[in-house]
């Protein structure tokens, strides 16, 4: 079920009413309801893949308890490996099998021995990269002694499959989300209203900003040979806003929906395009994934504590793995490696923590220096996004080489003035709200109700008018 669909618009109020009116007296009943509706939400897409979630949940539930009950170090390690193998095994099979088979065959071809790759017609289960990471973190945290396993099977299964964040995150840690299933939840008016506002903003980002940008980004990327460098650069910018609106919009809807049910999910985006360097960008983009890799990969590898070579190695590993997590294609690996290259100078010169605060905090306008550093960071990000969007590395290189030609200084052939105006207004609203959890959190709150409602009505009307040709969320494919 898509958040931007009519089905969800019917599903959400029904679940809300059942949750707060019918099942509100018993915590277990509420959790059970969440579990059932989460499976319904997921099964709406393809019920067959529910078995994967259920199996994965069973394994991690059992592994968690068994690990806790065992004091034998080897046995605990073995149990952890069971969890890792099951979760990454599913992920590897469904997401990466064909990629490895084809790459293997290509490698043989390069060596002069041609072989036919054995590939399978596999459907990638929606959200598999998200929920496998979520359950993995549960087992790892128990292994490390950071978390006690739950014996409440319903709460655990509901935690794994919690519908607002099941298919595209934020990737929650058991330490944050699971305890919320144990606590009695009470309805809070302010949280619910805030949640609705965040859902509205998320929908606006997805349906109005991302989907409109997608139309032009697709047109330019799919026919990149026909356009000048300036148009291609514009195409890159459109894609940058498409992916931001799409993914951060999804996160906003997920967080807002959770708040309607009394849950708090972690923040996933913090206005990344206002970053002054790449390190800051990665602290603000897909925070739940970046911190997951930091805690479960980068730090175990030694983090930035070792010598220079170790730091370089760890940086490349984390960025390349992060790229590969996004998809089984060399383009994602190059995208990750390119970001590592952007990041490395900052790390080596100890400048990666220079910009920890919010840009121009407490001010309306940034300084010239801040504008310059934000523009450079955004430009670098756009170049990297080209690899992310392109069908293959050759196409990305062709696209980029055309950007860096003389035609970059020509007038773009594609100039959608309405879309550019929309992006400008969107950036302005995001700028004004950059010190908040999401851009419109406090916008017009001190103004009369009529003005506030008019603003929200304009937003929802835009969402309604643009939702006709709905597109799925990009991150569903990951």
């Amino acid at each position: 079920m898509l958040f931007n669909s009519v089905e969800f618009a019917i599903f959400l109020p029904i679940v809300f009413i059942l949750y707060w009116f019918v099942f509100s007296k018993h915590l277990k009943a509420q959790n059970f309801l969440l579990l059932v509706v989460s499976y319904l939400f997921y099964g709406w897409w393809d019920w067959r893949f529910l078995s994967l979630i259920i199996f994965s949940s069973f394994v991690d539930y059992g592994v968690g308890i068994a690990m806790h009950n065992s004091s034998h170090k080897t046995r605990r390690k073995l149990l952890l490996w069971v969890s890792i193998c099951v979760n990454l095994g599913f992920l590897g099979f469904f997401k990466y099998f064909n990629f490895f088979a084809e790459s293997f065959a290509e490698a043989f071809t390069l060596m002069g021995a041609s072989i036919d790759p054995f590939t399978l017609n596999i459907v990638l289960p929606v959200g598999i990269s998200f929920y496998t990471f979520q359950t993995l973190s549960y087992s790892i945290d128990i292994y490390k002694g950071k978390l006690k396993p739950t014996t409440d099977i319903v709460a655990f299964f509901a935690f794994v499959s919690f519908f607002p964040q099941l298919v595209a995150g934020p990737i929650e840690r058991a330490t944050n989300l699971l305890p919320q299933f144990y606590r009695h939840r009470i309805f809070k008016y302010n949280d619910a209203v805030d949640g609705m506002r965040q859902i509205l903003w998320g929908l606006f980002k997805k349906v109005v900003v991302a989907d409109n940008c997608a139309e032009y980004a697709n047109m330019i990327f799919n026919n990149y040979g026909d356009y000048s460098g300036s148009t291609l650069f514009l195409g890159g910018i459109f894609f940058a806003f498409q992916i931001y609106g799409d993914f951060s919009g999804y996160s906003d809807i997920a967080i807002g929906t959770s708040r309607l049910f009394g849950f708090r999910l972690m923040k996933n985006f913090a206005f990344p395009y206002f970053s002054r360097d790449i390190a800051e960008f990665w602290r603000r983009w897909h925070i739940s994934l970046s911190t997951w890799f930091r805690d479960y990969l980068y730090i175990p590898l030694g983090g930035s504590k070792g010598g220079r070579n170790m730091r370089i190695r760890n940086t490349f590993i984390i960025f390349i793995v992060s790229g590969f997590w996004h998809g089984a294609n060399w383009t994602f690996i190059v995208w990750g490696a390119l970001n590592a290259i952007y990041f490395l100078p900052l790390l080596l010169f100890n400048k990666n923590r220079n910009n920890l605060g919010i840009v121009a905090e407490g001010k309306y306008l940034p300084s010239f220096r801040e504008v310059w550093s934000m523009s450079i960071t955004f430009g670098l990000t756009v170049i990297a996004w080209i690899f992310f969007r392109a069908a293959n590395v050759g196409e990305a290189l062709g696209y980029i080489s055309e950007i860096f030609s003389l035609s970059l200084f020509s007038m773009p052939e594609v100039r959608p003035s309405n879309l550019l105006l929309l992006i400008a207004v969107f950036v302005l609203i995001e700028w004004l709200g950059r010190e908040r959890e999401y851009a419109i959190e406090q916008l017009l709150l001190s103004k009369p109700k009529l003005l506030r409602w008019s603003f929200y009505l304009i937003l929802i009307l835009f969402v309604f008018l643009f939702q006709g040709k709905q597109q799925t969320f990009i991150y569903f494919q990951f």
């Binding site: 009519v6 309805f187 009505l457 009307l461 008018l465």
Partner: protein
């Protein structure tokens, strides 16, 4: 909780009122200003799906305009036909494609599947009858809501730009370069496909009847015709059912059958559509047929058959 529900319901209510007001207001403007004008000297028009769209090169046929449109079901054609006839009183004869695949049950999908509803509803909704809206709503609720919002957006766009000309949206001759008959025949030989020959779309037939009745009420000559198809075309398997419907439902309407128009494989794009070569030869021949007075002939099909045999 109560306050939250009341406020949310109030907000949703205001939004619905606003959306519906926009819908009715923009529709009203469109209904009053829309133009479906075609060339003054056009006397003959053809409506239907991709078969006539690819068969009648109207630049080669005198006083004739092709309104065929790929994947268009009779449901949408009837709205289009009514508007065209209303605004072009000089049209004398209306040809409507009636062929084997148009009676198949699968044609209902052409009415309300997501793809078709989002493509066609926003264009024609302002001119549809109440029952037509409800039919779509009943059969594809989410598709209808999506198309409903698209319609308002399109209408606002038209009003802002002052573009009320619907004629370019009505279809027209489609020039097909390709010729993939051989590969289709090979594929068919490799894995013979089957179709249901009994299940039919009663809705399609109902809307065809509505179109015929409307033309008659406007004192227009209405003629059903069947464009050339390849003899191996799968849809021909329901020929018996097709004939039965033709005889029971449309026995008093002239039917011009060009199914057996002599063609070579090179003149087809695929097994159902003529390519530009086939369309050129067929259109020139069709023009001569019209000049020779097929419309005045008592036994029109005999008139056609004689001339088709003469080609051989």
């Amino acid at each position: 909780m109560k306050r939250f529900i009341i406020q949310t319901a109030g907000f949703v209510g205001v939004f619905f009122v606003l959306a519906l007001s926009l819908f009715f207001m923009t529709n009203n403007v469109i209904q009053n200003k829309a133009t479906f004008k075609i060339k003054e000297d056009t006397q003959y028009v053809v409506f239907g799906h991709s078969h006539p769209e690819c068969a009648y090169n109207d630049s080669l046929i005198q006083d004739f305009q092709n309104f065929g449109n790929s994947g268009e079901s009779y449901f949408y054609t009837q709205t289009k036909l009514q508007q065209v006839l209303r605004q072009n009183p000089k049209i004398e004869t209306v040809f409507i494609e009636f062929t084997n695949n148009q009676i198949a049950e699968g044609r209902n999908e052409w009415i309300w599947s997501d793809k078709h509803i989002t493509n066609r509803y926003p264009t024609f909704e302002a001119f549809m009858e109440k029952g037509d809206h409800f039919l779509l709503l009943k059969n594809n609720f989410s598709g209808f809501v999506n198309s409903f919002s698209l319609s308002i957006k399109n209408n606002i766009g038209r009003i802002i730009s002052g573009d009320y000309n619907f004629t370019p949206k009505l279809g027209g001759y489609l020039y097909l370069e390709k010729n993939k008959v051989d590969s289709f025949l090979m594929a068919q030989e490799k894995s013979p496909a089957t179709i249901s020959t009994q299940n039919i779309s009663t809705l399609s037939i109902k809307y065809l009847e509505k179109m015929v009745a409307y033309c008659q009420s406007q004192n227009k000559k209405v003629v059903l015709l069947r464009s050339p198809q390849h003899s191996k075309c799968l849809a021909l398997k329901n020929e018996a059912k097709f004939r039965e419907i033709l005889e029971t439902k449309f026995s008093d309407i002239p039917f011009l059958d060009f199914n057996e128009f002599p063609t070579t494989n090179a003149e087809f794009a695929d097994l159902e559509h003529l390519n530009h070569k086939g369309a050129k030869r067929f259109s020139i021949w069709f023009n001569s047929l019209m000049q020779q007075g097929v419309m005045d002939a008592e036994d029109k099909q005999a008139f056609i058959n004689t001339r088709m045999t003469a080609i051989n």
